[in-house]
Symmetry: C2
Subunit: 411 residues, 2 copies
């Protein structure tokens, strides 16, 4: 235990060192780029950030503790890294619950599939562990980074809340809040306590800010850090000041939580644990995150079946061979094939996926067939989402966002 803690301490510190020019990949909350448009090397990222690989032992342990089949995103390595997940599970095994914290920067009206990944996974965690969840909508961040007005950021936050609610969260266990609505009181006090512990040089090291950045950016990291501490939510955790926090997120958010973990012991809190995903690839391939500015790089939850079909057929990068003959002979390169990768995210049936892996890899299946399967899977999924979202009323949004105790937190 002690060794483990010391190792964590060290790795947090190492990871906080500044990203250097000579780095062959840059991953932070604003930039996900590999050199020369190559793929992100997740092993290197784990090394560099100092987090741990989420291995089969841990997945088996989650299976055992929850009595549920681990989520597809666990079985297929979408969530592939963690920090202190062992500690959370140790405590859980002894009967100590925790809470989940995740969030979204509401920068666009329509979400794409990549945006849904953390929420689909968080819903699974909530159901499996039966724990409360706080979801932060960082409308203040987006207002500052994207140069959109306060009012537009708030509108987007509310629109995004509907998509999040449509993922099936339990209103008796879930508190959704926007920073513009919620910052103040105990939350603001924690922002101040956190800010006191972090120098400007430190945030430059972690986030790479420059003197030309406005001070809103420099002020923001404590806003994203504060929900990691239960006393930021007195209406939820008034008598649970030692409650542990588990944060499911994409690994580009790791810098925020390295900073948070550094500060936590000085403020008398547990370090938040993390469970971190890789990035959902764009239709064009795996060199980075999807871009909201190119609608053809992603499939949106607002896309119709026809659009989904067209996007997949036209844009999804194929690892298949140039001719049918060559394909039958060599098979598809699954390492770069986007239709197959997307199926790894969203095709639930392990046997069916394995069959496609085999047949497509050997050339027995053609790209067209795999694309057709993907079109079917995604169309169903997107239609299901759209149906669920249409049922989300303003009253439901108000209910999720009401500052209230959660009646059903740990049952």
């Amino acid at each position: 235990m002690a060794n483990n803690a010391a190792a964590n301490e060290l790795s947090d510190k190492l990871a906080s060192q500044k990203l250097k020019e000579e780095d062959d990949q840059v991953v932070n909350p604003w930039t996900v780029t590999a050199k020369d448009g190559g793929k992100i090397d997740y092993d290197k990222l784990i090394d560099k950030f100092g987090c741990q690989r989420l291995d089969q032992t841990l997945i088996d342990r989650i299976h055992r503790l929850t009595g549920r089949t681990p989520h597809v995103f666990l079985r297929r390595g979408v969530f592939f890294a963690h920090r202190d997940l062992n500690d959370i599970l140790d405590a859980y095994e002894k009967g100590e619950k925790f809470y989940l914290y995740t969030g979204r920067g509401p920068s666009s009206e329509a979400l794409h599939l990549g945006h849904l990944v953390p929420f689909m996974f968080t819903k699974y965690l909530q159901d499996a562990f039966k724990v409360p969840l706080v979801i932060q909508l960082t409308d203040d961040e987006k207002c500052m980074w994207k140069n959109i007005s306060v009012e537009e950021s708030q509108r987007l936050a509310r629109e995004n809340a509907k998509d999040i609610i449509a993922c099936g969260f339990d209103v008796t266990r879930t508190f959704i809040f926007s920073d513009f609505d919620y910052v103040g009181g105990e939350f603001y006090k924690n922002m101040v306590r956190i800010a006191k512990c972090v120098t400007y040089n430190k945030v430059v090291g972690i986030f790479g800010f420059s003197g030309e950045d406005h001070i809103g950016k420099i002020s923001f990291p404590p806003v994203q850090a504060a929900p990691s501490f239960p006393n930021s939510f007195p209406h939820l955790f008034k008598d649970k000041k030692n409650l542990r926090c588990l944060i499911p997120c994409a690994i580009d958010q790791d810098p925020y939580f390295r900073m948070t973990r550094d500060v936590a012991p000085r403020l008398g809190h547990h370090k938040p644990a993390l469970i971190e995903s890789s990035f959902f690839p764009s239709l064009q391939g795996e060199s980075g995150k999807m871009s909201a500015s190119d609608p053809n790089s992603a499939i949106y939850v607002t896309d119709t079946g026809n659009i989904i079909k067209k996007k997949i057929n036209k844009y999804a990068f194929s690892g298949g061979q140039d001719s049918i003959e060559k394909h039958r002979e060599l098979g598809a390169n699954l390492e770069v094939d986007i239709p197959f990768k997307y199926l790894c995210f969203f095709l639930d049936d392990d046997d069916e996926l394995e069959e496609i892996r085999q047949k497509y890899g050997k050339g027995e299946m053609l790209t067209g067939e795999v694309k057709m399967k993907l079109t079917q899977v995604l169309t169903e999924m997107v239609e299901r989402h759209r149906f669920a979202r249409a049922a989300v009323t303003d009253e439901m949004v108000d209910a999720f966002m009401a500052v209230r105790p959660l009646p059903n937190m740990f049952d």
Copy 2:
């Protein structure tokens, strides 16, 4: 909002704000220092900051517009500089009201006379112009700069609020708030809007922060700027988004409001106007530092008559001559005489002050006599304050700090 003495307490610790070799004086919210322990040169300060001198024409105009004798602090040049006071008076003359904004950084339990100066003057302005007033208690700032806990900062804010209320403010026109209580909602939105407009390089230029400073310090200037804009207070100024703001403060706060004025037009607000005071000198003289660690450098509102008498007799720096004979011959040097300077602040009667100026200056009065007069004036003033403060109940503090409309704002 730090004023002079509170700022002095902090100055030693802030390596980043050291007096630069080429500067002969440094005045900012945390440091007030002249080279070689000399006096602050206020003319140079006006030049450097780019504010205007508050001249007799303006004082006469205030007299005419309010129908009241201008406050001693105006007649005697304690408030000596301004920004855009003309604009406020032009608008006022046309029937357009404004609101007052001042504040205090609650760093100590007992206030000294220097702390009362801005509040005594603000009360006069409120009465004379019949305008609403917001008073910000920057408990967040003090928590961050002085390394005291959130809870202790909040306690000090409430204690200080009692002393402020004891200055006689009208509860129907005055809203007192602590940042820890009030930051959030529209106020937080303005903090974000302001922060977006100010780069890190800019705050370094204005405040002299360094990379070793924590990000709480860098985040704070928008907190002090926000009350300058009426939409930070929807419960007060919901329908008065164009209301002008006048800020009475010590001139060490000018940097905050230079920044605020810079930002104001970009956010669609009037630049706040300022009316700025010189610093209240310590008992040891104008080059001496008032410091919390030396209770004999200042007279506190908690000092008894005996303590006041002793402090004045023992510590008040005298401009009188070494021997009675020499004093009768040369008279006192009023430029450095603290008892006389204190009388200039607190002896209301212009004729009596003029008489003392003449007689003491010519050697007809002795230091002992002037000190006796000052003891009498301050004892009365402090006892009056203590009496008023004892009558301030917790219910009254709650009433002033309640988030509410002000029923009597402009009558």
